[in-house]
């Protein structure tokens, strides 16, 4: 009876050992450390440099994708009417991530392989859904990428993954990227793929949550949950500051 009670604990222990054995093998499933593991958006947030590092077997290459969340985006599309350029229609895009970054090792021509696997900015064009359907993705995709790149949200960086040899002879990879301040607070996926001789050997996904904290969180919460009160407060504070400034300047004796 006493031994029967121990069975779940033993099973759990075996599962843990199996999991550790698997993640310890860098070729099968890349174990990587993401620093920082989550991003907090506070009052003085101006973007964050993130690094990913982990062990890797010799002869392997690592490719890292950072992506998410897939939200509907709405844009104005300009067209020519007579001599004028103007907004001619509203365009909705679905199944295109809000942020997409691809970190590649230097000098390895992995792009054809990646393209066949649906990895890379250009592959987003194949997946995304454009509404109305009369608008071709080919027409708007370059402008869409241009807008995203201007905000630092879409990037393909060759040479961003680097390898080093540790003292004990083990091989490590390190990749760095910059999360711009224009990110939205959602969960982002970091997908690490290991290639051997141009073939995918292992892949793993880590979540990187982005949260608002402190004053930023409170203001956001109030603006969305108590819009009317928030608006009235904004007006009262603006009136107070405006009139106070008026009084301050009068007291300085410059007015009349």
């Amino acid at each position: 009876m006493h031994n029967i009670k121990k069975i779940p604990t033993v099973l759990l222990g075996m599962l843990v050992i199996l999991f550790c054995a698997k993640t310890a093998s860098p070729a099968l499933s890349p174990a990587a450390t993401v620093t920082p593991p989550q991003i907090n958006i506070g009052l003085f947030f101006s973007g964050k440099r993130v690094s990913i590092a982990g062990p890797i077997l010799p002869g392997r290459d690592v490719v890292v994708e950072i992506k998410g969340p897939e939200k509907k985006s709405v844009f104005n599309m300009k067209g020519r009417v007579g001599p004028f350029w103007m907004n001619v229609q509203k365009v909705e895009l679905e199944k295109a991530p809000f942020l997409y970054m691809l970190l590649l090792p230097e000098g390895k021509d992995l792009l054809p392989v990646l393209s066949s696997m649906g990895i890379g900015i250009n592959e987003i064009k194949r997946r995304m859904v454009v509404k109305p359907e009369t608008v071709s993705p080919d027409t708007i995709f370059p402008s869409f990428v241009q807008l995203k790149q201007a905000d630092g949200l879409y990037k393909e960086m060759e040479g961003a993954v680097q390898y080093s040899q540790a003292k004990d002879g083990a091989r490590c990879f390190k990749a760095e990227f910059f999360m711009p301040s224009s990110i939205v607070p959602e969960e982002y996926n970091i997908v690490i793929s290991v290639f051997h001789n141009g073939k995918l050997e292992a892949t793993t996904t880590q979540k990187m949550p982005v949260h608002k904290i402190g004053v930023v969180k409170e203001i956001h919460k109030m603006a969305y949950n108590h819009g009317l009160l928030y608006g009235i407060l904004c007006v009262i504070i603006a009136l107070f500051v405006g009139i106070t400034m008026g009084l301050v300047f009068r007291d300085e004796g410059g007015a009349h």
């Binding site: 104005n76 103007m86 241009q146 301040s181 608002k212 928030y230 603006a238």
Partner: protein
Amino acid sequence: MSWYIYLPIAHHSVLLPVIIGLGLLVGLLSGLFGVGGGFLMTPLLIMIGIPPTVAAASDSNQIVAASASGTYAHYKLGNVDFKMGFLLLIGGVIGGTGGVQIIKVLRQLGNADFLIQITYVIMLGGVGGYMFIESLQSLRASKPAESVPPVEKKESVYARLMNSMPFKTNFAKSGIVISPVVPLALGALVGILAAIMGVGGGFIMVPVMVYLLRMPMHVVVGTSLFQILFTCVDVTIMQAHSNHTVDFLLALLLLLGSTVGAQLGTRLGRRLKGDQLKILLASLVLIVMVKMLITLLVEPHCLLSYYGGE
């Protein structure tokens, strides 16, 4: 200490001195000319990466502070005609409500954006051009004016129409006697145009007060600011309630600069003659018009823009 501040509604971080500097510049124009400055501030904010809807709504919030500061300064100088301001405001609210309905119908008919932009260019070009030429002639004529004998002018159709209006009222601050129907009707007209063009209407209202109501320029600036204050209070509350697009931190940073700018603008305005003020405002309006015209005629470098802009 970080020079960056994260804006919770715009989802964007901005460089502190840049935002305060923008506020200072636009506040200066506001105090100087009696315009809200939205037609200048909103595109500048979009240029530094603020989403268009947040830029427009937060700008309204900061204009509340700048116009409160400017109105107070002008009130102390005796430059606010409250009676006239209220009549224009009532007309503006009625016209604005009607204008929103007109724009809804136009959008359903399609190509409303084109009509909006063309109206904008024509209005800016017409108003700016007329103000510029008139002020220039006035400035040139002001020197030898004393030696030239006054020429008796025929009463214009507009003047006759004004004189035929009922319920004549004395607007002491503005030094004019007209029917209250006139500011009500003109306020409504500006309200319609402002709603169609999507701007506060300050730089349409100022020429209307100068040329159609014949108010003195300094009273025009103070009265216009008084009216803008009420319009922007309404817009801020509506935007915060319905669209959640007012970024309080952005507005706060802008208004730190704009309230100081408005005070400086008011003082600077006192040192300038009415015609000098008019010619400066006309130049600004013409620059904005040319910029808009170029946007309409030159192929954009990017075919897409975030929905809610322009």
